[in-house]
């Protein structure tokens, strides 16, 4: 048995080959997330602009971090999902993910079958309740970053 057998190819792949890794020099906001219990850290760069209709969106997002495989895979999967999305869409995604991880008692398989959406691979982390916060850290950091950018 190895990591892939338990957590699945999707999580292993995002952990080993992180997407959108790096810093954005001219971004609107850099938000740091930290879990003092386990030392997981993420730093998310958010570049906000307005689309042709004038509504605000996340033009580009990158991140860097240091932490467990679940936190890092979650950050990578998130970074792929959120590029170019409107603020409203982002709030919906963040809330939907939080609900999946913390909300109902819905049970998900781990490793997940490939549903075409990488995020579904994270839902099975519910099998390890203490690790849910690892998966959530990038998302709560994104939420804080968007709120802080807006407050300016």
């Amino acid at each position: 048995m190895n990591y892939r057998d338990v957590f699945g190819e999707i999580l292993a792949d995002h952990h080993e080959s992180p997407r959108n890794w790096g810093v954005l020099p001219d971004c609107t906001r850099v938000e740091q997330g930290y879990n003092p219990l386990c030392g997981d850290k993420v730093s998310i760069c958010l570049l906000l602009d307005r689309d042709s209709s004038g509504s605000e969106r996340l033009a580009r997002c990158t991140y860097e971090g240091e932490g467990c495989s679940i936190c890092m895979a979650s950050a990578s999967i998130m970074s792929e999902m959120i590029q170019g999305k409107s603020i409203q869409e982002l709030q919906g995604l963040i809330e939907a993910f939080r609900e999946k991880m913390q909300g109902s008692d819905e049970v998900f398989l781990l490793p997940a079958e490939d549903s075409g959406e990488d995020i579904t691979a994270l839902y099975g982390v519910k099998r390890f309740p203490v690790r849910i916060k690892c998966a959530l850290l990038p998302w709560t950091t994104l939420k804080k970053g968007l709120e802080a950018a807006h407050a300016k």
């Binding site: 048995m1 386990c38 030392g39 240091e66 932490g67 690790r131």
Partner: protein, 410 residues
């Protein structure tokens, strides 16, 4: 020794997710023998009344049961007087009591308050903040490459003649035992008051005040030595305790309350404000009885054999870093490990799937973790009821961990 002992701990027979519980998180809290749980339960069912209050018979019985534990603790530690034994909520509470009361009255601007790099937050933060409030200097004794106190740095701090030295008997991360008696002798000559954190030490070896040299305070918790959570002990030298102001104010700690001022009760009650956790103190008494029945020497010998066994195997695992001394002497069966490229949380989840319960995290020792350059480690800590089979399970699982976490080559 432990096939019979294991029967005393009903929880050790649990099967979790199809696997027998292999509990290796004893440095966080030990399991409780049935005798301790029964003593607590019996107190509530048969003897419950408040202590030091009523004139009725039941209250006297409760008070006698409670105070008899003070006597047991005095004997257990080899202390001179029951007046030196103060019941607290635990090690953290005991240390905060000393930092607040003794530190508050004795530390002045420019004084030196010293700790070591291997202290738990409970024996670090109260002193750091005391030094900050008093504009005192806060000094940290650094470690050698083999995780022990650096003798040169001990000399450096000794030369500053600190007012207080707070030092642990045994590190909860590396398993190192400190030479407290010789430290205390040297620092005492420099006029230092010495507090010993025995939270881990009390679980692994006999702790007698006179064996620790001229120390002034000693703190420990019941829950790491087979007793319940919520209660601990502060031992202090009577002459010092007499001089110190009370820590918390309220019932039991007063002798007389006037409209404008109050007078304090005598020791040890001066430091025991409010209704104590009576049942847990009774449980601590039962834990001491339990440990003494099995004998501290036998427990120490058995744990030493586990330490020797695990160390010998762990050092042979390729790619495994042991964050503690490889020399089995002067160390306890507490093993923090790390595997390059594998986060401690992932390693702990893997061990959990193998049925092994360990701790992953910073072990409430940020200053030490910072020096290690690691955000977290995985820690397996043994007690006398753990078996060699469990030790071998851990070793086998750790040996297979690198292949479990092997990355695909790109």
């Amino acid at each position: 020794m432990n096939s019979l002992i294991r029967k005393d701990f009903p929880i050790l027979a649990r099967v979790i997710e199809g696997k027998a519980l292999c509990y290796l998180d004893n440095a966080a809290t030990s399991q409780k023998p049935k005798k301790v749980v029964d003593a607590i339960s019996r107190f509530y069912l048969e003897t419950n009344a408040n202590v030091h209050r009523g004139v009725y018979h039941l209250s006297q019985e409760a008070t006698d049961a409670f105070e008899s534990v003070r006597g047991k603790v005095r004997r257990f530690l080899g202390a001179r007087s029951e007046r030196e034994v103060i019941f607290t909520r635990g090690t953290t509470d005991s240390i905060n009591l000393v930092a607040s009361s003794f530190g508050g009255m004795s530390i002045q601007e420019g004084d030196v308050v010293a700790v070591t790099r291997m202290e738990h937050h409970a024996n670090f933060v109260p002193w750091q903040q005391l030094a900050k409030q008093k504009k005192a200097r806060f000094e940290i004794i650094e470690l050698t490459d083999d995780w022990r106190l650096d003798p040169k740095d001990v000399d450096r701090v000794l030369g500053m003649k600190p007012k207080i030295l707070a030092v642990t008997l045994l590190s909860n991360v590396t398993g190192v035992t400190n030479p407290v008696a010789s430290l205390a002798t040297r620092f005492k000559m420099a006029g230092t008051t010495i507090l010993v954190d025995a939270a881990q030490g009390i679980a692994h070896s006999e702790v007698k005040i006179d064996d620790l040299g001229p120390i002034d305070f000693l703190a420990f918790s019941a829950h790491k030595m087979c007793g319940p959570t919520g209660v601990g002990v502060l031992w202090g030298r009577e002459a010092l305790l007499e001089k110190m102001p009370p820590y918390q104010l309220g019932g039991n700690m007063i002798a007389h309350v006037g409209d404008l001022d109050s007078e304090w009760n005598e020791l040890p009650h001066k430091f025991e404000a409010g209704t104590p956790d009576i049942a847990s103190v009774i449980g601590l008494g039962a834990a001491i009885d339990y440990i003494e029945t099995h004998g501290r020497t036998r427990i120490e010998e058995y744990e030493q054999s586990i330490t020797d066994h695990v160390l010998e195997k762990l050092v042979q695992i390729p790619g495994l870093r042991l964050l503690g001394p490889t020399d089995p002497h002067h160390r306890a069966p507490i093993f923090s490990v790390a595997i390059d490229g594998v986060h401690a949380h992932d390693l702990a989840t893997y061990l959990d799937m193998e049925g092994i319960s360990v701790r992953a995290g910073h072990h409430c020792a940020h200053p030490l973790m910072f020096k290690l350059g690691l955000p977290a480690t995985c820690r397996a800590s043994f007690s006398f009821y753990n078996t060699f089979e469990e030790a071998d399970m851990l070793v086998k699982a750790l040996a297979q961990a690198p292949s479990f976490f092997a990355r695909r080559r790109n």
